[in-house]
């Protein structure tokens, strides 16, 4: 409350990054504002751990023009599923570089723990007031990690109508991403090979482009309610595989990873796992509804998103935050529910003979992935935030969230299930303006 308008301006500044927010209440009353935050994200069972400090600096240039700069650093360690599933045998895998190997014991979901990544991302937004009722926001972003580089630009036009009670937003963004996997770009559906053999790689890097369009409307309903509806359409072209993900090739005769003919590792060097393959084109759509409603003191913020794409994925996302105003501070419980259907090419494993030629190793499917993120799943989140204004122009906040992701394992043999995921989020924010 006391940080009046700071976050309003910040949310405007993020238009090109994440969302079109209402420009209806974003009058400027300070020259500078700075937001800092630190996030810890930790998954269970020794999986991904991340630390992510971030800073945002905004500066009013006068005449409703402003500039916003954002820097985020992301440090990751831990292990992530490699795409192969658990079996009743010991499984051996080659590291992405080809210079090492790791194993999964019987009943264990194979995890690749070789990644350790640091990512830095910088973004800038320049808001230009065109006239009394319209403005344009020009954005750019660049981020880099040792195996991934992303560069993007965006532009959003905002136009007020009806005495500034209605705002129309039209946006477009373009991103160009380059992936440079450790060891090179795997050949789609080619086998992983044992350590010491020549890796099945097609080159050192590959790219994809993302083009996104948005049209949205924000409407003040009455003195205590505001609503927003967006439609976004996106097109991704190019390399969209996770270069570190593989799919198990199972021999139906043994129900174990194939070890005969083409996959007789001792004679061919081929391991019974092939690199995943995803389509090189994806069109994405979403309808997003968001509302905030003031209950004299407390505030409800609710959003719903329906998403669909031509990979066969549809999803529903419900998000509810209730800001409970205390004396001089606030508590904010948060609930999020997300469910998605599986991608058309999501597959638990490939069967020797049926899906894969036992002699040549040819995969009869065009695309295949066992990435759990493409599976049918449900993600639930429970969180709580406490915010404490420290002065008229500064605020400290802390929040914790618990995330639970359940993977649908219908039809999967016992012992081969994709494990569920749980994670905790701890975050601290400090904002100041002058």
């Amino acid at each position: 409350m006391q940080l009046k308008n700071i976050k309003g301006k910040v949310s405007l500044a993020t238009c090109s990054l994440l969302q079109i927010s209402s420009p209806l209440t974003q009058a400027a009353d300070s020259d500078w504002d700075v937001d800092t935050a630190f996030l810890y994200y930790g998954e269970s069972d020794g999986r991904v751990q991340a630390a992510e400090p971030a800073i945002h600096v905004g500066h009013n240039l006068g005449d409703d023009d402003r500039i916003d700069l954002r820097l985020v650093v992301d440090v990751l360690t831990g292990a992530t599923p490699n795409g192969a599933h658990a079996t009743n045998s010991v499984q051996t895998f080659t590291t992405p570089s080809g210079s090492g190997s790791y194993t999964a014991n019987p009943g264990e979901t194979p995890l690749d723990d070789t990644f350790h990544d640091t990512r830095a991302a910088f973004g800038a937004d320049w808001t230009i007031s065109l006239d009394r009722v319209s403005k344009i926001i020009l954005g750019m972003n660049v981020s880099g990690e040792y195996d991934y580089f992303s560069l993007g630009v965006s532009s959003t036009y905002l136009r007020d109508f009806n005495n500034k009670n209605t705002t129309l937003a039209v946006g477009v963004a373009f991103n160009n991403d380059t992936v440079k996997p450790v060891g090179g770009v795997p050949i789609d559906l080619a086998p992983m090979v044992a350590q010491g053999y020549t890796l099945n790689r097609s080159g050192s890097d590959d790219t994809k482009t993302l083009t996104d369009f948005l049209i949205g409307i924000t409407q003040v309903i009455n003195r205590s309610t505001i609503m927003q509806l967006n439609y976004t359409y996106g097109l991704t072209d190019g390399y969209q595989n996770d270069p570190y993900k593989i799919v198990s090739v199972i021999d139906p005769a043994t129900q174990l990873p194939a070890d005969v003919s083409y996959f007789d590792t001792a004679t061919t060097g081929n391991l019974p796992y092939v690199y995943e393959s995803r389509p090189d084109s994806r069109t994405r759509n979403s309808l997003f509804f968001n509302t905030a409603h003031h209950l004299t003191e407390d505030v409800i913020n609710f959003s719903y998103r329906y998403y669909w794409d031509d990979w066969g994925i549809t999803s529903n996302t419900l998000d509810l935050r209730y800001r409970y105003q205390l004396e001089g501070s606030y508590l904010q419980p948060h609930v999020r529910y997300y469910s998605q259907d599986a991608a058309d090419f999501y597959i638990h494993d490939l069967k020797l003979g049926t899906d894969v030629d036992a002699t040549t190793g040819e995969v009869y499917r065009q695309h295949a992935s066992n990435d759990y993120r493409l599976a049918k799943s449900v993600t639930s989140t429970l969180g709580l935030k406490y915010g404490l204004p420290l002065s008229k122009n500064s605020e400290f906040a802390v929040r914790g969230e618990y995330i639970s992701q359940t993977i649908n394992n219908d039809g999967v043999p016992a012992g081969e299930e994709t494990p569920d995921l749980s994670a905790v989020v701890l975050q601290m924010n400090y904002s100041v303006a002058w």
């Binding site: 993020t14 994200y41 003031h294």
Partner: protein, 70 residues
């Protein structure tokens, strides 16, 4: 098709014209808590986390950076 879209847009804007408030009634709407994205970094981190764990993303806006998320 274009004329249909135009009519929908026009009808929406015309319908919206009957809603809203006068400038002097924006006291609640101007509060931080009434922003549709009330906290920049909460939203930023959430989007980053779910982008890396789920197959769908976006909806709130366009643009942003990519990552080779694990």
């Amino acid at each position: 098709m274009k004329s249909v879209l135009f009519l929908i847009c026009f009808a929406t804007l015309a319908g919206c014209s009957s809603m809203g408030v006068q400038p002097w009634d924006r006291d609640l709407l101007s509060q931080d808590s009434m922003q549709l994205v009330p906290d920049y970094f909460d939203n930023f981190y959430d989007q980053h986390i779910y982008f890396s764990k789920e197959a769908s993303s976006g909806g709130q806006g366009v643009g942003g950076g990519g990552c080779g998320c694990n």
